[in-house]
């Protein structure tokens, strides 16, 4: 299977990672070789009709409110103002 430059850029968008042009060839190679290897899973399921069997079961617990001291958490922020995390505006031109 072949991966196109457009697909890599689209994946970058979904993954929220900027992809520079110089990285594209090596990413294509990486993706193609792995995806070609895992194609065997498709062959397996078409050769044998494997039914889905349960494995992971979700566990729930009571919802309980805990007070947490925000100070050590806010200290880790790249930028903060009192107990708020400060980030750039959502829109470039937003004032």
């Amino acid at each position: 299977m072949k991966i196109t430059k457009e697909e890599v850029l689209k994946l970058g968008q979904i993954s929220m990672i900027h992809i520079s042009d110089s990285e594209i060839p090596s990413l294509i190679e990486r993706l193609e070789s792995l995806l070609n290897y895992v194609c065997c899973l498709k062959e397996l399921s078409s050769q044998r009709s494997l039914k889905e069997m349960p494995h992971n079961i979700n566990t729930l617990r009571e919802d309980s409110v805990q007070q947490v001291n925000p100070t050590p958490i806010i200290k880790l922020a790249p930028e903060s103002e009192s107990n708020y995390f400060v980030v750039p505006a959502i829109l470039k031109d937003h004032k």
Binding site: I14, V38, E52, R61, P88, I90
Partner: protein, 491 residues
């Protein structure tokens, strides 16, 4: 041989108890070991200072005075936690992982942070943003990965135990490369609270030691139910050393006469196993026969699909788990004028190539049009793989399999073929997918003095049995059960 550096935890506890050495002297001794030798192997990202190590350990704990190192994806309160990534370069953990706090309660000395592949993604510790760790057995070779720093530190006698983590084999493979015992426990036995998530349904903390007894001792300290981890099993903490010598005490010559060992034929006879490794593995099987075990050869055909299944599921979960690293609340933040640019620049600059490529693959196999072909099929295959193991265990007590195709490879070996690097997980990842436990056990050295290991795989929660069988094997290897795997230059 330096008696103290390569002493077992059991022996160190004895020396402390008899007051042959004080806790403070022992700590200074191991800190000096790091100072003297770690520049050769670079196992640690950080070695803590003497006072702060002492200050957090419980003097009345059963492991008081025993130092160990923790892989840098397991939180230690008020210590840096980087996952060997630029994106967490200056992050300081505000809390202890459950494993860390249980060790502190038991008095263990947490001596530092061990190097690893970035976000545990790799099989050689080469993707660490900070430094390269060398295998103490051959400084031109990798220690394995992703828990390479932890393995190297124990193998070089800088600490008697270390914690690593497994998603696809990242404790067992470095253990095999470094001549150590490496446990991957049953999924859910050790709490994942405070272990930075890579693939949440596969991740488990693992343990490196130089003896079976020591491994069981460390497991006893940290295993058991934790309310902070909803995937932790409802299992009480227990003493895994309690009956470790049950078989050897009952029958010195054929201690394993009531054990049936299944050799995974399609693993042992797989293409690509190095001839010397193959010979050492077969020698280990003969040892088990000599110890009385019934040997059966079985095929597990679904194992042939394990690597593909593992690649899909682990990358899919990683794509999800690593979306939290976005520069908002903690960690590295890139310069940007808009929020969106901040996200994409932070993650481009903060993550290494391997991490980025795995996130992209993960999102590919989850995306519309591909999810059914890849992810759904992988989940179905995973169920069948686990089932195949469960069926095997109806007739077999434990399974025997290689851990690696051969000895530790040299740096850059797979730099032009990353798929071959990925396939280092081939012998180990089926166990992670099935959620069952496995112990990597050193079985000998090649003619050029490099360790080879095999693994004993058991059904859910069979750690105690695995230890008993491994103990019988270990006692047979050496007169006194002490690990003679000591690399030159570190004695």
């Amino acid at each position: 041989m330096n008696n103290l550096a390569f002493a077992s935890i059991k022996e160190l506890k004895n020396k402390l108890f008899k007051k042959e050495i004080s806790h403070e002297e022992l700590l200074k001794f191991f800190l000096n070991r790091f100072e003297k030798y770690d520049s050769k192997i670079n196992s640690a990202l950080e070695v803590f200072d003497y006072d702060s190590i002492l200050s957090v350990s419980n003097k009345n704990g059963s492991l008081y005075g025993i130092p160990g190192i923790i892989k840098d994806n397991i939180c230690q309160k008020n210590r840096k936690l980087t996952c060997a990534s630029k994106i967490l370069e200056n992050y300081i953990s505000p809390y202890d992982a459950t494993a860390s706090s249980r060790f502190k309660d038991d008095g263990a000395f947490l001596i530092g942070r061990a190097n690893m592949d970035e976000f545990a993604m790799g099989s050689s510790t080469e993707t660490s943003y900070f430094k390269k760790t060398c295998n103490p057995w051959n400084l031109k070779a990798v220690p394995g990965g992703s828990s390479g720093g932890s393995a190297a530190a124990v193998a070089a006698g800088l600490v008697p135990w270390a914690l690593g983590s497994e998603t696809g084999g990242s404790v067992r493979q470095p253990a095999a490369f470094c001549g150590l015992f490496g446990l991957k426990p049953t999924y859910g036995l050790i709490s994942r609270y405070g272990l930075v998530a890579y693939a949440s349904s596969l991740d488990q903390i693992g343990i490196f030691t130089r003896s079976v007894y020591d491994n069981a001792l460390i497991l006893s300290s940290i295993a058991g139910k934790d309310n902070n981890d909803s995937t932790s099993l409802n299992v009480d903490p227990k003493n895994y050393t309690a009956q470790i010598d049950e078989f050897t005490k009952a029958d010195k010559n054929t201690p394993l006469k009531n054990i049936t060992l299944g050799i995974i034929d399609n693993a042992l006879e797989a293409e690509g196993i190095e001839p010397e490794a193959y010979n050492l593995l077969n020698k280990a099987i003969k040892t088990f026969e000599k110890l009385g075990a019934k040997i059966k050869r079985i095929k597990l055909p679904m194992m042939d699909y394990a690597a593909a299944t593992y690649f899909v599921i682990s990358r899919a979960e990683a794509a999800s788990n690593l979306s939290r690293f976005d520069g908002v609340k903690y960690g590295f933040r890139a310069k940007a004028d808009s929020l969106n640019d901040m996200y994409i620049n932070t993650r481009e600059e903060g993550f290494g190539f391997e991490v980025k490529s795995r996130i992209l693959v993960g999102n590919y196999v989850l995306s519309a049009g591909h999810a059914e072909e890849f992810y759904t099929n992988a989940k179905i295959t995973q169920s069948h793989l686990r089932n195949e193991f469960i069926e095997a265990f109806e007739q077999i007590d434990l399974l025997f399999s290689p851990v690696t195709p051969g000895k530790a490879f040299e740096f850059e070996r797979f730099s032009t073929n990353k798929l071959l690097m990925d396939l280092q997980d081939y012998f180990t990842c089926s166990v992670n997918l099935a959620g069952i436990p496995s112990l990597s056990i050193p079985c000998g050295l090649t003619t050029d003095n490099m360790p080879i290991g095999f693994q004993l795989i058991g059904p859910d929660l069979s750690e105690a049995l695995i230890y008993q069988v491994a103990y019988a094997y270990e006692q047979n290897l050496t007169d006194n059960g002490l690990n003679n795997f000591i690399p030159a230059g570190f004695e």
